[in-house]
Symmetry: C2
Subunit: 300 residues, 2 copies
Amino acid sequence: MNELELIEYITPRLRQNPDTLIGPGDDCAVVKVGGVLQLLAADQVVSGIHYTPDTPPSKIAKKLLKRNLSDIAAMGGEPFCALLTLAGNISDGQWFMEFFDALQGAAERYGVSISGGDVSSICPECPPDSMVASLSIIGSVEEHKLCLRRNAKPGQLIMTTGCFGNSFSSQHHLDFEPRLREGLFLAGEFTRCMMDVSDGLVLDLQRIARASGVGVELNTATIPLRDGASTADALSDGEDYELVFTVNEELVPELYSCWSFEASLNCIGKITSAHSGLVFDQNGVNLSEKSKTGFKHLSE
Amino acid sequence: MNELELIEYITPRLRQNPDTLIGPGDDCAVVKVGGVLQLLAADQVVSGIHYTPDTPPSKIAKKLLKRNLSDIAAMGGEPFCALLTLAGNISDGQWFMEFFDALQGAAERYGVSISGGDVSSICPECPPDSMVASLSIIGSVEEHKLCLRRNAKPGQLIMTTGCFGNSFSSQHHLDFEPRLREGLFLAGEFTRCMMDVSDGLVLDLQRIARASGVGVELNTATIPLRDGASTADALSDGEDYELVFTVNEELVPELYSCWSFEASLNCIGKITSAHSGLVFDQNGVNLSEKSKTGFKHLSE
């Protein structure tokens, strides 16, 4: 059993309260609290999986926060606070102080308060540098901005921010900037269907296709490549932390003319009514078949 | 550096947003969302630290949820939803399916929806049965019920639910019942100062003493002991997941007469203006000195 199979086992079994508007299966859950649409997500960084032993603790800490912020961005929301748990070899005080100082610095930069959590030793038989850090992020979204994977419509264009592929070798997986401002700008005005690309473009687009009951036709020649990446890398590497979203074609000229962000804006395909739940390329090749497991991180 | 020293390093550095009413340092953080007082907490279970290898996955899963519920109970609140992250050797599908089925069953029992999270492999050099599971709980509390560690007043009596000590050998640390109903009953009506005892009675009472700027005088002869526990065990073992709270003396007769729960109710001491931040016994012995580190879990 791999991660995806386990998640497929779990997800349909998780029953939601009536005030949970969106349960597991999108970038964030959405719950209604006192009239506010609250966004909830949790993600982790694990030694040997999400970073190599030579990675500075400050970069690991920032990655942990930023990959959660990327989920908030994908829903069209803004972050508010976070909870942290950490299991590691606490005796190495210097390492952990650097980790926390960097996490707190990044949290301040993004207006997030770290409001609670827990610290524990990791099991004594684990290697001395092993660590699991988990962060839960809490944010909010205005109702008219809420973006969901299920909202793609046939005929819409598929657009992206930034570049894809080669995230590990290029260190992008540590140094990326979560697309919070871009997400806020796009949400509601230009799109109601957005997600962040963390597990690979094809796998993540397939999630949109399944959730919306539509097909995806990619024009692979138009996918912007990160330095050193092939198109194949861009389709499956993952950890891009870029936004992919759908736009009605008639809005695209206005979108380009209003776009003031550094990240490039690209149209990489369209939503179709054919091939529901699948991702094809411009030559009719079913990419979903080739990329069943998506991003497999460092050591899997 | 141990866990407590690391937490002492971190906590004062975590700056809070204006809508965070209570930040780190109580059982839950309290944030105001759309007029609702929301409770936030996160806790984890780690292999070799919080459970032994022979523990069934269902008990580990329930412990993870219940220790978080105990934090909600301690604030006088009710749980709403949770986020889960898990790092483990996912290839053992059967183990994880049992874990999730038990977690979901317990969540339903307590009215909690598990609304999101993440699953990852753990580092490949970790032993095959190593696991770190982290759960963030989100609940709410009525304003007049909110119980805080900082609210103890000199002259109040210190009361507890249930028994103390010997939590590991007795399996209480797996089989306990979080005191949600008791917490709701007590909060506002009988107390505004409550916490759950997870790190040992003396260490946790010292937290109340410090937060409130008061002293604690325990009558150690009156502490109810779990089967097989000595008074010394009851003072320091931890993982009791019982409530300790302060009550104005004149309310105590009514409290006893209204108490309809199975858990025993006991008065174990009083809040004093002397010895601020410290815990003494009835003979003037400073217990805080003897129990500086509190509960050290399985392997520390």
